[in-house]
């Protein structure tokens, strides 16, 4: 029947080996084998996006991918977002400055999703941002400030004047 297989996954730039059952989900590999608990398990049904990571640069929901599918691939998680000099990445600074989190549970997934969104489209419209993060749920209903944070990160990445960080109250 089922046998454990050895895989190698490059996570945040570091190659790691693990012995996995084929049925192990990527999110469990990251959290339990690699002890990186920044990637969250929310709904566990591909809806909420809390488990979003980058797999070879593309944002994916790690609760719906087998760990063994990441064999030989690169995974990026929230733990790897910091700039090389230890300062906050633009998207992290943006979330911090714009009050874009309340409880913080959705935040790692939101930031990983936003990272790919801004890589593909560095200057998205508000509609493109809202559509782009439609697979990430925030139950503190913090979307306005999350959208504002992604706009802030977009300006920061493009070297443009940063928008106001005054929170939006509705």
């Amino acid at each position: 029947m089922q046998m454990e297989k050895e895989i190698t996954v490059t996570i945040n730039g570091e190659a790691k080996k693990a012995k996995v059952e084929p049925r192990l989900l990527l999110v469990h590999l990251i959290r339990e084998d690699f002890n990186m608990t920044g990637t969250h398990i929310g709904c566990d049904t591909t809806h909420c996006g809390a488990c979003t990571v980058l797999l070879d640069g593309k944002s994916v929901k790690s609760c719906t991918i087998l760990a063994i599918q990441a064999d030989g691939k690169k995974v990026s998680t929230v733990e790897g977002l910091l700039n090389a000099d230890g300062t906050l990445a633009a998207i992290q600074e943006a979330f911090k400055e714009n009050h874009a989190l309340h409880c913080g549970f959705c935040t790692p997934g939101m930031m990983m999703r936003a990272t790919e969104l801004l890589q593909k489209n560095p200057n998205p419209s508000e509609d493109e941002i809202r559509w782009g993060i439609s697979g990430n749920l925030c139950r503190c209903t913090g979307y306005n400030n999350i959208v504002k944070a992604i706009q802030y990160a977009s300006a920061k990445i493009r070297g443009e004047a940063l928008p106001s960080t005054e929170p939006i109250f509705v």
Partner: protein
């Protein structure tokens, strides 16, 4: 939620994959994007004993026009449709459909082939493919065979793909000059299945409708082509009265079931509205 135990292989060639599928027979399932299969396995609705992961097989992911067909490799991700300039300009019906499939993360993984091979009438590409009269290329150890989309869906999760075979390509006849198409589904929220969805593809030649395809999503046991509705328009000048009649027939001929998305009457009314809107939108896009 953890799937039941299974064994796994990720072959590097199509021939190896076909040999593994043959060897493991009914126990084996093909893993492509995995975004229908893995959730079903986590919920233990499916417990295959063996997964053949085809993601490492080169040459199954492409979008190209060739020999009178638009050819889409089975492993083409939804996101590749969205990112394709050719699809945006020449086949916007796919953008309509693709944009409404789940969310960006799912579209980074989910494949066109899987969306069809899953055999779920709630999926979106089947209706579009019915409207476009696509052909499905199915490959087994004995070679490839081509099945018209009208003969592809047998029943719930049941298609023309037999054990030991892999859906490898979808071929869409390149529409004639004067063609347009559109798709829309009503979804309660991002990521939900369609309450109802309608795809319309048509060709207008000198004012006459020379081609019409109407496909319906999630209002029937299998993806449904609204043939009686098509017959109303085919060969005629499209008028508001004929559009009304076609939409009425589509609503009469589908068989939705009552669920938490709505009752039968509501869904049939929705089909009628969407058929009318998609015919107009397809006509607006004619070029």
């Amino acid at each position: 939620m953890i799937p039941a135990a299974f064994d796994y292989a990720a072959p590097a060639t199509l021939n190896e994959a076909l040999a593994l599928l043959k060897k493991h027979g009914d126990e084996a399932k093909v893993l492509a994007g995995g975004h229908s299969l893995i959730p079903m396995m986590k919920l233990r609705f499916a417990s295959p004993g063996y997964l053949v992961d085809i993601n490492n097989i080169p040459g199954l992911s492409y979008i190209k026009e060739e020999g009178g067909f638009l050819k889409v490799g089975a492993l083409t991700r939804e996101v590749m449709l969205e990112d394709s300039e050719m699809i945006h300009t020449k086949y916007p019906i796919f953008i309509d459909a693709s944009k409404l499939i789940a969310d960006a993360q799912v579209r980074n993984m989910g494949t066109i082939g899987g969306n069809i091979a899953h055999g779920d009438a709630a999926n979106d590409h089947p209706a579009v493919m019915l409207a476009l009269r696509a052909e499905v290329v199915i490959t087994g150890e004995g070679g490839a065979r081509t099945v018209p989309i009208d003969e592809f869906f047998f029943g719930f999760y049941s298609t023309a793909v037999q054990p030991g075979e892999i859906l490898t390509e979808i071929k869409i006849p390149i529409p004639a000059k004067g063609s347009g198409g559109a798709y829309h589904k009503l979804e309660r929220k991002v990521g939900d299945y369609a309450t109802a969805g309608v795809a319309v593809q048509l060709t207008i030649d000198k004012g006459t409708c020379t081609y019409i395809g109407i496909g319906l999503t999630n209002v029937n046991a299998i993806p449904l082509r609204a043939k009686r509705a098509e017959d109303v328009l085919k060969g005629n000048k499209i008028t508001d009265a004929l559009i009304e009649q076609a939409a009425q027939f589509a609503a009469e001929d589908c068989s939705p079931s009552t669920d938490l998305r709505g009752d039968i009457e509501y869904k049939k009314a929705l089909v009628k509205v969407l058929v009318k809107r998609m015919i107009h939108k397809a006509m607006d896009r004619v070029k």
